[in-house]
């Protein structure tokens, strides 16, 4: 921990106020409360920031970064701060000034012919939705479970959605980045002044840097190109409920070749029974005991709700003739492999609800009310090999650890082309100290046991950056050491998000962080 000396902080805040106006600088309790983790599994004040500054433009970001570099004041950039379950708006360490870019909320360009949009960090999925829908733009967006967050921030954290463009990080093309000395960099083809293909060709000339600015602290991304998919003529959904828990394995093995050959382009997500029940209401309506719900109670609740042990939809997007062929392929592949039938529904235009296109919603946050009281959640999300046996192993081991710690296993497997994102959530009541303690220690054990089995997380909560970074341990942590060499080179003062993803600048390493 390196505290910011009070006189240095005061000087920095005065400079920041000169840049953005005093109304857009906060300190003391206001800053700590505003940027605390709203879903914190431990005292949120223990990792709340010293202050915050909210610029309205890239010029202002540059000016702020220059001041920070000169004074050695660490900044913690956020886009909209809605990364719930992964820390929300909160930084990794308390002694930082939040660089809050929520006011930078312009959609800078939408190229309908080329199918991309260029956004600033403060643009939310809701903003983009209204922009596209209200203007009848024939492009579809992809969004994660709730739409309050930042399009740019979510892509940088490698969030996932449920359309064929649901692997958001892979649809990013061309960024503008403020580097740690306050200068401006454009990635990919944007490196050429006057380039016509900045948001069309993702690689540029020489090393490609877009991916290096994701889940990283090498710079501050102030604008980003994102590909959007053409509006499909039809979507066809094949929904399935698996009543037998062990049907997870065959379902995944059947799905794999369909994803590999492109029959299924979206990312089906096989969610478990708790995931279905938790969106409907609190657990107390089903059971009043403590610890995980007993199997017989859970099964009765499942049948009453009419949901499966696993529930998913395989949605096909595109031309109706092509969808019909692919639907036949999907049905034939599943036939006889699992004890369930598909329920088919189609969308052919009009109201977007039920189409597979995201609509503005915060319903997903409802799950934090599962145990009543002020709810919280911690998301443990290891990547699984795309194999029924491996997913089963991961599911049974992780579920067993959840239940041993007294929690219901809430989880699901979202299918990429060659991997599964196994996204699980520890739901807890923030007023229950014992439950919070168990949630924290369970999370640490999950990371350790995961690593012992060769399972790494695709993303993690800000509190656990270092533990997950240490689990990526090949050749004595060669990747972490490489990242820190880059960090020292591109941010010698160590002012941008120190400790993000376990990447510490030299002065923090020397201080023993």
């Amino acid at each position: 921990m390196i505290p910011i000396p009070p006189e240095t902080l005061a000087r920095a805040l005065a400079e920041f106020a000169r840049i953005v106006g005093a109304d857009n600088v906060w300190s003391g309790d206001t800053a700590r409360t505003s940027y605390a983790d709203a879903m914190a599994p431990r005292d949120p004040a223990s990792y709340a920031p010293d202050a915050a500054v909210a610029p309205a433009s890239t010029d202002e970001v540059q000016a702020i970064v220059r001041v920070a570099a000169e004074l050695g004041v660490p900044l913690w950039p956020i886009s909209r701060g809605k990364n719930f379950g992964y820390g929300g708006a909160a930084p990794h360490i308390p002694n930082v000034v939040m660089l809050d870019m929520v006011r930078m909320n312009r959609i800078l360009e939408c190229n309908v012919e080329m199918g991309y949009v260029v956004v600033e960090p403060g643009v939310s999925f809701d903003d983009l939705y209204h922009y596209l829908v209200d203007n009848d733009i024939p492009l579809w967006m992809s969004a994660p479970a709730h739409t309050w967050g930042s399009v740019l921030g979510n892509a940088l954290e490698r969030g996932v959605g449920y359309t064929p463009y649901g692997e958001h990080a892979s649809k990013v093309c061309g960024m503008e980045v403020v580097t740690a000395d306050g200068s401006l960099l454009r990635t990919g083809m944007g490196a050429m002044a006057g380039s016509q293909t900045w948001h069309g060709f993702p690689y540029g000339y020489g090393p490609s840097w877009d991916p290096a600015f994701m889940q990283s602290n090498f710079g501050v991304v102030t604008r980003m190109g994102l590909w959007l998919m053409p509006r499909p003529a039809q979507t066809l959904n094949l929904a399935m409920k698996l009543d037998r828990v062990e049907d997870l394995s065959p379902a995944i093995d059947v799905l794999r070749p369909l994803k590999l050959d492109g029959t299924v382009q979206a990312n089906p997500s096989l969610g478990n029974v708790i995931r279905s029940l938790a969106t409907r209401g609190p657990r107390s309506a089903l059971w009043q005991g403590s610890g995980p719900m007993p199997a017989d109670v859970l099964d009765a609740a499942r049948q009453q709700a009419g949901v499966g042990h696993w529930n998913f939809g395989i949605r096909l997007f595109g031309d109706p003739d092509v969808n019909a062929i692919n639907a036949r392929k999907v049905r034939a592949a599943f036939a006889g492999k699992v004890q369930a039938e598909f329920e088919e529904s189609e969308w052919t235009g009009g109201d977007l609800r039920g189409s597979g296109h995201p609509t503005p919603t915060l319903a997903a946050l409802g799950v934090v009310d599962w145990l009543g009281g002020p709810g919280g959640h911690l998301t443990f999300s290891p990547v699984s090999a795309f194999s029924g046996a491996e997913a089963w192993k991961q599911y049974t081991l992780v579920r067993g650890m959840y239940e041993e710690a007294g929690f219901d296993y809430y989880g699901g497997f979202t299918a990429g082309q060659r991997y599964l994102n196994h996204i699980t959530m520890i739901l807890f009541n923030r007023n229950d100290q014992d439950m919070c303690d168990r949630a924290n220690s369970l999370f640490t054990r999950l990371i350790e046991v995961g690593a012992q089995n060769g399972w790494g997380e695709y993303r993690t909560h800000t509190l656990f950056y270092d533990e997950v970074a240490r689990s990526y341990d090949y050749n004595n942590g060669a990747m972490r050491r490489w990242n820190e060499r880059v960090k020292d080179a591109v941010d010698p003062q160590g002012i941008i998000a120190p400790g993000k993803m376990g990447i510490w600048p030299r002065r923090y390493r020397e201080a023993g962080e």
């Binding site: 505003s34 809050d100 006011r103 939408c110 922009y131 709810g375």
Partner: protein, 110 residues
């Protein structure tokens, strides 16, 4: 030329977007419109907030607009600090003047 057309379209569309207000001054929305815009995702019919509140407040008052008593000071505190499962909303995303207008609207009751 085609690219220019596309960019021109983008510029004209941008004026209509909620996220952009660069040129023409935009009229101040009414307090009710502000409530719907800033709070409606959760606090209208069917929203997450409404559903949670329906389990915690007297019947028929889960919608904030239907509350018999909702002091502005309470709304202000809840928004800035969060409550229950509702995250706090900070000044950078909802300014003090806008929050005051929403709190006033809810206190007055409709």
């Amino acid at each position: 030329m085609r690219a220019l057309v596309s960019l021109g379209l983008a510029a004209s569309l941008a004026l209509g977007a909620a996220a952009v207000a660069q040129d023409a001054p935009v009229p101040e929305p009414s307090d009710e419109a502000l409530f719907v815009e800033k709070c409606g995702l959760c606090h209208l019919e069917g929203g997450f907030g409404t559903r949670v509140l329906s389990r915690r407040v007297p019947e028929g008052q889960a919608l904030l607009q239907d509350r018999e008593v909702l002091p502005a000071a309470f709304t202000t505190m809840v928004v800035r600090r969060g409550i229950g499962s509702m995250p706090q909303i900070r000044a950078a995303e909802l300014g003090d003047a806008q929050l005051a207008a929403i709190a006033r609207y809810l206190e007055a009751g409709q």
